[in-house]
C-alpha cells in the first residue's frame, strides 16, 4: 500500500468524517498539516480567522445551526491556549466540536520547547475527550473516535493534540470507523419502569409544567416534544438555549425561564404540581434560590447525561436516555387531557408583564432607542425565521426575550459560560452552517471589541452577517448590576467608543448608524436588502435595564418587574 504523510492522512480522515469546512489559523507546529491542506482546498474549505478564539467560536456557530460537528485547526502553544475559552464554552453548552492543535514533536515533549504547552493537561477538564496523537499510525483511529465522541450522546468538544512527528511520519492510511467504545454508552437503553412511572405521574397531574432545554434540539426531538406537550395539554417554558426547540407562538409555549425570563413560567414553576424537565440542567440562572425552587411539585427529569440527575435539584424520577426516544415512549402511554384552567392561569401574569415591561420595551414613543424595539423589529423583518446570534450581556438578554422563532436551530448564544466576544465569530460560523438563512447578530459595544478583528474574516469571506450593534456606551449588564446592587457605583463600565461605522467601512463592510426612531424601519430594511455583511449601529438609551429580573439568590417566583433608580 502507498505510504502518505500523517498530515495527508489527517486530511483524508477529516474528509472521511464528512468535514467540508475548517476554521483555523496556521503556525509553526501545524505547518505540515497546512501544507497538506493546500492540496485539499477543493474539498476542505478553510476559513482563515484573525485569532484562534475566533476559529473555535466560528466552529461553534457552525455546529449549533447545522447540527454537524464544527472543526477548528490551530497551532501549538499560544494557538492552542487561545482556543481554551471556546472549548470551555462548547463543553458547558454541549456543542459538538473537534479542535486540532499542532504540538511539538514527541522528542521535544516536556522539554519546554518553543511553543510547547501541555494541551491535553490543560484541556482535559474542559473537554469531552482530549487526546495526543503521537504517531501517524494513530491518526485514522483518533479522528474517527474524536468525531464519534463529539457528536454522540450529550455532544461536546474534543481536542486532538497533533504532534509534529505524527504529521510528518509516513503511514499506510486506511479509513477507520468508530461506532462503539465499550466504556462509553451514548445511547442508553430506555428503562421501561421509568417510562411507565413518568406516564403515570403525568396522567395523575392536574398542573403539569414542562421545562424545555437545548437537549430537545440536540436530540432532534422537536416533533416528539410537541406531540408530548399536545397530547397531555401541558404548558412549557424554555431555557435560552432551548428557545427554538418549540415555536415562540405555540399555544403551549409560555415563554422563557429564569433570571430574565418571563413572569408566568417563573411564578408557575412554584405553583405547578408536576415539573417535567427535558434536556436541561437546572442552571442557577434558571432556578434562582434552590431552597424554595418548586418545593410543592414532584419533579421528573429527562436527560441523556446521568450525571445531571440530582445534581442541582433533587428529582422524584429520572428518565435516562435520548429524549427523542423517551419522549415518544412516554407520549404513547399518556392519556389525552386538557388543562384549560391551569393554562389560563398564565394569562394574568402575561398581561401584567406585558403592561409593565414588554409594552414599554417594544413601543416607546419618546426618548432614545431601546434594545427591545430594535430586536423585535429585526426579528419581524425576517418573518421570525432568522437565526439569532448574540454576544453576552444586555444585548443577549434582550435578544433572547424579544427575538421570535419559527424554525429549529435558530439560537446561537453563549449560555453557560457567558463568553463576551462570542458573537461575531459565532455569527460568521452560522453563515456557513446555514447559508440559506438570515443570520442576525446582536452585539454590544463591549463584546464587539473583544473579537472585532474578525471583521477581517467577514471581509475576506463576504460572510453575510447582519450585525446589529446595540451601542449604549456602557458595559451595560455590569452597569445594571452596579446600579441595582452596588449603590450606583459605575466602576469601569462606561466605555469610550471609537467610530464603529468608520471601522466597519475600513473593512469594506457597509455600515449605518441609527439615532432616530423614525429611521429604524428603513435602516433595518436596507440592512437586510444589502447582500453580504452589514453593520447597523443603533444608539441605545444609555442606562436602560433588562427587566423583569430575579435578583441573584432570590426565589424564582419573586421577579422584580420595575426598577426605579434611587
Amino acid at each position: 500500500m502507498e505510504k502518505i504523510t500523517g498530515a495527508e492522512a489527517m486530511m483524508r480522515a477529516l474528509e472521511n468524517e464528512g468535514v467540508d469546512i475548517l476554521f483555523g489559523y496556521p503556525g509553526g507546529s501545524i505547518m505540515p498539516t497546512y501544507d497538506a491542506l493546500y492540496d485539499h482546498k477543493k474539498t476542505l474549505n478553510h476559513i482563515l480567522v484573525r485569532h484562534e478564539q475566533g476559529a473555535v467560536h466560528a466552529a461553534q456557530g457552525y455546529a449549533r445551526v447545522s447540527g454537524k460537528v464544527g472543526c477548528a485547526i490551530v497551532t501549538s502553544g499560544p494557538g492552542a491556549t487561545n482556543t481554551i475559552t471556546g472549548i470551555a464554552d462548547a463543553m458547558i453548552d454541549s456543542t459538538p466540536l473537534v479542535v486540532i492543535a499542532g504540538q511539538v514533536g514527541v522528542a521535544m515533549l516536556g522539554t519546554d520547547a518553543f511553543q510547547e504547552v501541555d494541551v491535553v493537561g490543560v484541556t482535559s477538564p474542559i473537554s469531552k475527550w482530549s487526546y495526543q496523537i503521537r504517531r501517524a499510525e494513530d491518526i485514522a483511529w483518533a479522528v474517527a473516535r474524536a468525531f464519534y465522541i463529539a457528536k454522540s450522546g450529550r455532544p461536546g468538544p474534543v481536542v486532538l493534540d497533533f504532534a509534529k512527528n505524527a504529521q510528518t511520519g509516513m503511514v499506510e492510511y486506511e479509513p477507520a470507523k468508530a461506532d462503539f467504545i465499550r466504556s462509553y454508552d451514548p445511547d442508553p437503553d430506555l428503562n421501561e419502569e421509568e417510562i411507565r412511572e413518568a406516564a403515570k405521574m403525568i396522567n395523575e397531574s392536574v398542573k403539569p409544567f414542562v421545562l424545555v432545554g437545548q437537549g430537545v434540539e440536540l436530540g432532534n426531538a422537536r416533533e416528539e416534544l410537541k406531540a408530548f406537550l399536545e397530547k397531555a395539554d401541558m404548558p412549557c417554558g424554555t431555557t435560552f438555549l432551548g428557545l427554538s426547540a418549540i415555536e415562540s407562538d405555540h399555544r403551549l409555549n409560555k415563554g422563557i425561564l429564569g433570571m430574565h425570563g418571563n413572569l408566568g413560567p417563573n411564578v408557575m414553576t412554584n405553583k405547578c404540581d408536576l415539573l417535567i424537565a427535558v434536556g436541561m440542567r437546572f442552571d442557577d440562572r434558571v432556578t434562582g434560590n434552590l431552597a424554595t425552587y418548586a418545593k410543592q411539585a414532584k419533579i421528573i427529569h429527562f436527560d441523556i447525561d446521568r450525571s445531571e440527575f440530582n445534581k442541582n435539584v433533587k428529582v422524584n424520577l429520572s428518565v435516562h436516555g435520548d429524549c427523542k426516544k423517551s419522549l415518544a415512549a412516554v407520549t404513547k402511554l399518556l392519556d389525552k387531557a386538557t388543562h384549560t384552567s391551569w393554562i389560563d392561569g398564565f394569562k394574568p401574569y402575561e398581561e401584567k408583564e406585558y403592561q409593565k415591561v414588554i409594552d414599554k420595551a417594544l413601543h416607546p414613543t419618546e426618548g432614545p432607542l431601546l434594545m427591545g424595539e430594535v430586536i423585535r423589529k429585526v426579528s419581524e423583518a425576517t418573518n421570525n425565521a432568522g437565526i439569532m446570534v448574540t454576544d453576552v450581556g444586555q444585548n443577549q438578554l434582550f435578544a433572547c426575550r424579544y427575538f421570535k422563532f419559527t424554525k429549529a436551530r435558530s439560537v446561537v448564544t453563549s449560555g453557560g459560560l457567558g463568553t463576551m466576544g462570542f458573537g461575531i465569530p459565532a455569527a460568521i460560523g452560522a453563515t456557513f452552517g446555514a447559508p440559506d438563512r438570515t443570520v442576525c447578530l446582536f452585539v454590544g459595544d463591549g463584546g464587539l471589541q473583544m473579537t472585532i478583528q474578525e471583521f477581517g474574516t467577514i471581509m475576506e469571506q463576504g460572510a453575510p452577517v447582519k450585525m446589529i450593534l446595540l451601542n449604549n456606551n456602557y458595559l451595560g449588564n455590569v452597569r445594571q448590576w452596579q446600579e441595582m446592587f452596588f449603590s450606583h457605583r459605575y466602576s469601569f463600565t462606561p466605555m469610550l467608543n471609537p467610530n464603529y461605522e468608520l471601522i466597519a467601512k475600513g473593512y469594506g463592510i457597509p455600515a449605518k448608524t441609527v439615532v432616530e426612531r423614525s429611521e429604524l424601519d428603513a435602516a433595518i430594511k436596507e440592512m437586510l436588502a444589502t447582500p453580504g455583511p452589514y453593520l447597523l449601529q443603533c444608539a441605545i438609551m444609555e442606562e436602560d435595564n433588562v427587566m423583569p429580573m430575579v435578583p441573584p439568590g432570590a426565589n424564582i417566583d419573586e421577579m422584580i418587574l420595575e426598577y426605579k433608580s434611587k
Binding site: G121, S307, N310
Partner: protein
C-alpha cells in the same frame, strides 16, 4: 379505625399504603429519617473505579474530587483481574449525596468503565503498613515484642540497628499498633499503603457490565 390517627382517612400522607404493606408507621418514618441523615452526614466512602488503561486518566479522576472540594484520603491504582482494565480504590470523606454525584461525574469520563461507591459495611478492607523500629530499644524493652505479637504483626528483617515490621489489617488495627509502639518510643519510620478492598457481592459488576456492552456491540 384500626391504625388510629389520620391514616385511612386521607390519601395525602401516603402512610396508609405503607401500613397496609406491613410496615409500622414509626418504622418507615425512622427509615426515611435515617436515609436523610445518611445523605447529609459526612463519613468515609470507598470508591471503586474501573477504567481502560490509558495515560492521563488518573489526573482526570482526581480532578473531579478537587473540583467538588473533596479531599482524597487514600488512593490505590493497579491492573485489575479483568485484562486491560485498571482498578482505582479511592477513599474520601463526604456526604452520600456528594459521593453519588462524584461517581456519576467520574463515570462520565469517556475511558472510565464503571464507578461505584461503598461504605465499609459493603466491602472487605485491607491495608498494609511497614514500621522500622530501633533494635536496641526492642531488645531492652520486652513490651515491644509483646505488642508486635499482640497485633499479629511480623518482623520481616532485623539487624543490629533496626527491625522492620509488617502488619496487614484494617486501618484501626494498623493505627493501634503504631500508637502503642510509638508510646514505647521505638518507631523510626512508619509507612502505610492505601486501602484495597473487594465487594461482598457474589458477582463482579464489571464483568456483567462488559458482557452487556459486548452484547450491544454485537447487536450493531
Amino acid at each position: 379505625m384500626a391504625f388510629g390517627g389520620q391514616c385511612g382517612e386521607c390519601t395525602e400522607c401516603g402512610k396508609c399504603e405503607r401500613l397496609l404493606n406491613g410496615q409500622t408507621n414509626d418504622d418507615s418514618i425512622k427509615k426515611e429519617e435515617k436515609k436523610m441523615e445518611q445523605d447529609n452526614s459526612v463519613r468515609l466512602y470507598t470508591f471503586i473505579i474501573y477504567s481502560e488503561n490509558v495515560p492521563g486518566l488518573l489526573s482526570q479522576i482526581t480532578a473531579v474530587y478537587t473540583r467538588r472540594q473533596v479531599n482524597i484520603e487514600s488512593l490505590n491504582v493497579c491492573a485489575s483481574s479483568t485484562p486491560g482494565a485498571h482498578k482505582y480504590t479511592i477513599t474520601a470523606y463526604c456526604t452520600r449525596t456528594m459521593a453519588e454525584m462524584l461517581t456519576k461525574q467520574i463515570e462520565k469520563k469517556i475511558d472510565v468503565l464503571q464507578a461505584n461507591v461503598f461504605t465499609d459495611d459493603d466491602i472487605f478492607i485491607n491495608e498494609t503498613c511497614l514500621l522500622k523500629i530501633s533494635t536496641p530499644i526492642m531488645l531492652e524493652n520486652k513490651d515491644v515484642c509483646r505488642m508486635v505479637r499482640l497485633h499479629q504483626a511480623h518482623i520481616v528483617e532485623v539487624n543490629s540497628i533496626y527491625a522492620t515490621i509488617e502488619k496487614t489489617g484494617i486501618t484501626s488495627d494498623i493505627l493501634s499498633l503504631y500508637d502503642s509502639l510509638k508510646t514505647l518510643g521505638c518507631v523510626l519510620q512508619f509507612v502505610r499503603s492505601g486501602r484495597i478492598c473487594i465487594t461482598k457481592d457474589y458477582t463482579e459488576h464489571l464483568d456483567e457490565y462488559l458482557a452487556d456492552r459486548e452484547k450491544k456491540r454485537n447487536a450493531k
